[in-house]
Assembly symmetry: C2
Homo-oligomer: 259 residues x 2
């Protein structure tokens, strides 16, 4: 009998977030689930790793019948530590989330959820990050769970290309209004940040980042548009960031200075 | 008379690192330099932003005749805050570094140096990150300074495409052995992380990340190879992470489930 596949589950909202519980429930029938997740919220950590302080990792009892560990580090630390110290092998698949809030478009580069999945993909482990467009603690994860189940099953069953990494965002919709999965590209969008100025009780200035999301991309084939249209967006992501078009441009325009 | 261009200088090693001083010296004749950099080392922060705690920013006197600010946040926070609260406009160019240590190949995704430059590029500001392959506090930045000067001048002078972002690594070589600039692609490489286990004075386990860099890419056109051959590697970087090949694959193989 073939052993059950090992499914590594992590996130960036922390091990006690409702979203990771929804993800564990969504995939637990597909293999042996092991959770290694941050012990506190790590949103916006991007691909940060912990180098200046040591890491702590503790076994915890959070999900019934599921081996679970909480880690003092970032989502990327969790994936690295899981492989070396907990699984002692690569997992068969890694799923991250379900994030409370969108990780579409440019958010992919700020997202701890997606960075955890990317770390697994760099190791050659098929992976996906799931995000629900609802920040609420009481968010309804039922559609997101069905999506996560279906995609994780596909990642395990089919011979996916090496370094498969999917950024999956799920709209905030009831099942009856949900249209299905749509393969998209990352929309060109950004955050217009302003910083709110305040003065502390000792008279010193401080600032809170307050952002406004701006989508500059009118394309019909973007993740932002698919979500607007009622679909879950599926963007395949890669970690070769080379801009090949720009490479050709440089070789032409800067040819007196570069080889 | 045309106003001097504004050159925003930042880094991830912190405002007191020798590398940022070298970068300020390298570019100060090209425009009005303003430094906004972290108040402490932020290596490995990737594209992290600060959301859970407020930011502090203070004017400091570190570089003679150069307006300088230190910020409690990440390199990305520095770029965002510089625009909104210090410059009150976009800079004409943003340069980050000179990093103490390599940011070639996969390091681009873990690097605070490169994330600061990427943040500027998202805003449409031509930018570059510079890294010297020498971790030492006493590193010789003379070749790196010449490279940074030349590239920053080009970014200011020539009509570069929108969202230009360059990852520039400089070998640890004396000027006489340095071969010049080479335009490259990002090598496929990764870190094989192990975690060193220790026990604290209270009997609790903790772990230090210890990594071994592994280059799996035998290509002649990579940044790792160019550096080995004595060149400074110039990799144009983009922030659209969509894997377009994989998009086509999904539309073919998963066609019963996706649109």
């Amino acid at each position: 009998m073939r052993e059950k596949p090992i499914i590594l589950v992590t996130n960036d909202d922390g091990i006690t977030a409702p979203g990771i519980r929804a993800l564990v429930e969504a995939v637990k029938d597909l293999g042996q689930v092991i959770v290694v997740a941050p012990d506190s919220p790590q949103s916006g950590m991007g691909h940060a790793i912990t180098m200046g302080v040591p890491l702590r990792v503790n076994k915890v009892d959070v999900f019934e019948g599921i081996e679970s560990w909480q880690c003092s580090g970032t989502p990327v630390d969790c994936v690295k530590l899981a492989r070396d110290k907990i699984l002692h092998r690569k997992p068969d698949v890694c799923v991250s989330g379900i994030n409370h809030g969108a990780n579409h478009s440019i958010n992919v580069i700020y997202s701890g959820t997606m960075s955890a999945a990317m770390e697994a993909a760099i190791e050659g482990v098929p992976s996906a990050g799931f995000s629900l467009l609802d920040f609420s603690f009481e968010a309804d994860f039922s559609v997101a769970k069905a999506v996560a189940h279906g995609i994780t099953k596909r990642l395990l069953d089919s011979a996916v290309p090496r370094h498969t990494l999917l950024n999956v965002n799920i709209p905030r919709l009831a099942a009856k209004d949900f249209k299905g999965l749509k393969v998209c590209r990352q929309a060109y969008a950004k955050w217009d940040e302003e910083f709110e100025h305040r003065v502390d009780p000792r008279g010193k200035d401080y600032y809170w980042m307050v952002g406004r999301f701006v989508n500059m991309d009118k394309g019909e084939d973007t993740d932002v548009q698919a979500l607007k249209d009622g679909y879950a967006s599926v963007v395949p992501v890669k970690f070769d960031l080379t801009d090949y078009k720009m490479k050709d441009w440089l070789l032409g325009e800067w040819k007196d200075e570069v080889k």
